[in-house]
Every structure is written in structure tokens, then in C-alpha cells.
């Protein structure tokens, strides 16, 4: 992500929202508050004082570590640091996705990194976000515009939506 920041902003006219979300699945029988506490422990165990973050939970008992940095490159750096903290905290195996929101002509679109497929997939909710509809033509454009620079998944069966994100 850090390497393609220039392409996103200068060629494609899409800009980071200065946030990134790391989505973590709960372990078996773990409540949302327990998961939140586990993530916070993992973050404080290692000295990551420089990273600005918040931990939130959603109504599917998943937790979101929300990172805030001005530049896309710094966000990507923060995600890498979180990866290390999660590695030693034992959370890394339950990371479902890393989500990078972007704005594109007054709309919000997402690049979702899925560790399971080790690739990025596009996600564009339809304009006005009506009834969980998505703008598939825009997703296709997003993928073909960046595939040379980002390890994207061309297989659309991997292009899962994530609705109601805190980022």
C-alpha cells in the first residue's frame, strides 16, 4: 500500500480518509468486550506509543483496530507495526481483513486486504448506500486500474463486501 500511494492520489484521483481498519475475528466463545481487551493488551504489550489507534467492536462480535495517520504510506507503516504486535500477542491468525477506505469523487470506496488469499479486493457500495447494493462496474474499474501495482485478486468470487464498517 505504501508504494502505490502516489498512483492512487496523482493518477486515480482517490484519496485516503486517513484511516485504516484491522478486522479481527473473535476466538471461540469470546465476547466482543473480551476480544477488545485482548487487542488492547497486544497493543500495549509492545511499545507502540507512536501509533494512534482506537479499538471498536461491531454487532457481529468482531473487533476493529482503527488506525489514524495523515499519509497513506504512514498508515501502511502503522499496519505493519500492528502486524508485529499481533504476532507476539497471538492475534495475527484471526485477522480477517485490513481495510483501507478512500474517497473518490465524493464517494467512499474500499480496498480490502484479505490475509487468507494474500491479496487486495475492491469494494464499492452503491451511491447513497441504498439497501446494501454495490457498484460492481466501479469495483471492476478499481481492480483493473491498480492491478499492476497492487497484488489484487482478479477472481471475483473473493470480492466479499463488508457492511457497516467503523472506517
Amino acid at each position: 500500500m505504501a508504494e502505490v500511494a502516489v498512483i492512487f492520489e496523482q493518477q486515480l484521483d482517490t484519496y485516503t480518509t486517513h484511516e485504516a481498519g484491522v478486522l479481527v475475528r473473535p476466538s471461540k466463545d469470546q465476547s466482543a468486550s473480551q476480544l477488545k481487551a485482548e487487542i488492547e493488551r497486544a497493543m500495549t504489550a509492545t511499545d507502540r506509543t507512536k501509533i494512534r489507534y482506537g479499538v471498536e467492536t461491531d454487532d457481529t462480535s468482531h473487533a476493529w483496530l482503527v488506525l489514524r495517520e495523515n499519509a497513506l504510506a504512514d498508515l501502511a507503516g502503522a499496519v505493519a507495526a500492528v502486524g508485529e504486535a499481533f504476532e507476539s500477542g497471538g492475534v495475527i491468525g484471526r485477522v480477517v481483513a485490513v481495510v483501507y477506505p478512500f474517497t473518490w469523487s465524493h464517494r467512499r470506496v474500499y480496498w480490502i486486504y484479505q490475509p487468507r488469499i494474500q491479496g487486495y479486493t475492491p469494494f464499492a457500495p452503491a451511491e447513497g448506500n441504498r439497501d446494501q447494493e454495490r457498484d460492481h462496474p466501479l469495483e471492476v474499474r478499481m481492480e483493473s486500474a491498480i492491478r499492476r501495482n497492487l497484488p489484487t485478486s482478479r477472481d471475483i468470487t473473493n470480492w466479499y463486501p463488508i457492511w457497516g464498517m467503523p472506517v
Binding site: R25, H62, V96, R116, V140, S144
Partner: protein, 282 residues
């Protein structure tokens, strides 16, 4: 494309020479039939697809789109027809730009969004503008002649006294012409198919230029071919918790692409994506 044309010319030239050697009347008879078909083609095609011509009052949106697109393409506005069929399909017909019609099925109109429908209509309008119906009719002219001739010869060989012929020569002539018609049908058929693929690509390109939004046609193609149904609807969080129970979650996707019945559709979509990229930087 010109190579295909040249090859087609060679195959047909050989065929005409051969038929003229043995039965010039046949060529004239079958040729007349094909020409009649050609003159009636728009009405015949519309009738065979059970499509009815509709007025602007009956289908204002469709008429509006076709009017806009044909004006942009610089051709007279074709007739607009709707076929009441659940199968999504669209086609253009007509022996000339003045005698042209664009027809869509109700299934297509129900399935596609307005933008996607416009992409498909632009594709059909491009077919009319580049006179594809005329080109394909000329290209397949001798193919139809050869097909009719071979059936004819088969029957005449069967009922015209096979083996009883006192003249051995006529039997061998029939065999030679029969063999030639088979060769023309196979080789000519392959060439016409190749030509028709070129026309499809060029109509896609024409549509991309007309609308300047190739992705709408690409999305329509994906939706029609059913590959759109492969786009997961379920939330990643849910899918991920399900996937945890499977050993190889990616197997399904691999099999689907192996048995995909629309490789040419994929290639068309891929080309449209390339055009989209090119247009974006123009």
C-alpha cells in the same frame, strides 16, 4: 481481418469455379433464394424472434436511448422492437442502415440497469453502422449455397440411381462436387465464424466510443453470462467464519473457472477493460 477475408475469397473462388464447371443452374437457383432471404432479412429475423416493433409511446425509455445513440453514431434511427422472452438477448438486423431494426427481449430489460442496457444498445447500433449484417450475409452467401447444394446432391445421389448409373463419369462428378461442398462448408464456416468474432470485437469498440463508458457493456456481459452471480453477496465476516471449517476454501473458484462456458465473454470483458483504461487517460 483482411487475411480472413482473403482466405474466404480463395475458398469461395475455388467453389464457384468448380460449380460453374458442372452445374451453373444450381448456383443461380440457390443464389436467387439467398438474395430473396437477404431482401426480407429484417422482417424474417424479427418474426423468428417473435419481436414486435414498438412505438415511442409504448417504450419511451428504449426509444430515447436508441434515438440518442443512433444520432451519435450518425445513422438513421432504426426501428425498435421488443420480444417477450425471459432469455436476455439483443440483436440488430437489416440489410442497410435505412432498413434496420434493434430488438431486445423483455428478459434483458428486466435484468440490466439503464446504463448497462445503453451499453448493449450501443453495441447493436455499432453493428448497424458498420453494416455488419450486409458483410455477414455476403460472407456466408456461398456457405448457404454450399449447404443447399450438398443436401441436394446427397438426395440426387440416393434417389437418382446410385450404382445404376450407366455413366460412371456423372457419379464421380457428383462425388467431386459433394466433397468440394463439404470442404467449403467446413473451411468457410470456420472463416465466417472468425470474421463474426472480429465484428463482435469491433462492435464492442464502437459501443465504447459511442458511450465512452465501456465498463457498462462489460458489466452487462458479465451479468448476462451469469458470472455476476459468482460475486459473493455475503459479508466477509460471515464468510470467513464459515471458511474456517473448510480445508481448501479456494477449490470452488478453481473449478468454476475451469468449467466456465464463456471464454470469449471473458476476453471481450478484458478488452473492454483495456479500452476503459485507454479512455480514462484521453
Amino acid at each position: 481481418m483482411w487475411f480472413t477475408f482473403l482466405m474466404l475469397g480463395l475458398v469461395y473462388g475455388f467453389f464457384v469455379w468448380l460449380v460453374l464447371q458442372y452445374s451453373p443452374i444450381m448456383l443461380i437457383l440457390v443464389g436467387g433464394m439467398v438474395l430473396f432471404q437477404f431482401a426480407m432479412s429484417d422482417k424474417m429475423v424479427l418474426a423468428s424472434m417473435r419481436a414486435k416493433v414498438v412505438t415511442p409511446e409504448q417504450a419511451p425509455k428504449l426509444h430515447g436511448m436508441i434515438e440518442k445513440l443512433s444520432a451519435a453514431a450518425g445513422i438513421p434511427k432504426p426501428k425498435v422492437a421488443i420480444s417477450d422472452m425471459p432469455i436476455p438477448n439483443a440483436f440488430a438486423t437489416g440489410r442497410s442502415q435505412k432498413h434496420a431494426a434493434v430488438a431486445v427481449t423483455t428478459g434483458l430489460m428486466n435484468m440490466l440497469s439503464d446504463d448497462e442496457l445503453e451499453g448493449v444498445l450501443a453495441h447493436e447500433i455499432s453493428h448497424i453502422r458498420s453494416k455488419d449484417v450486409v458483410v455477414m450475409t455476403y460472407a456466408s452467401f456461398f456457405l448457404i449455397v454450399a449447404a443447399t447444394l450438398s443436401t441436394w446432391l446427397m438426395f440426387s445421389a440416393m434417389f437418382g440411381g446410385m450404382g445404376r448409373s450407366r455413366n460412371n463419369n456423372s457419379g464421380s462428378i457428383i462425388m467431386v462436387v459433394l466433397l468440394a461442398t463439404f470442404v467449403v462448408r467446413i473451411v468457410g464456416g470456420m472463416l465466417v465464424a472468425a470474421l463474426s468474432r472480429y465484428r463482435e470485437y469491433s462492435a464492442d469498440r464502437g459501443a465504447a466510443i459511442l458511450t465512452r463508458r465501456p465498463m457498462h457493456l462489460a458489466s452487462a456481459l458479465e451479468r448476462i453470462s451469469g458470472s455476476m452471480t459468482r460475486l459473493p453477496q455475503e459479508d466477509l465476516r460471515r464468510a470467513e467464519s464459515m471458511n474456517a471449517f473448510f480445508i481448501m476454501p479456494a477449490v470452488g473458484a478453481g473449478l468454476a473457472s475451469l468449467f466456465s462456458t464463456h471464454p470469449s465473454m471473458n476476453r471481450r470483458v478484458e478488452r473492454l477493460r483495456e479500452m476503459d483504461r485507454d479512455l480514462a487517460f484521453m
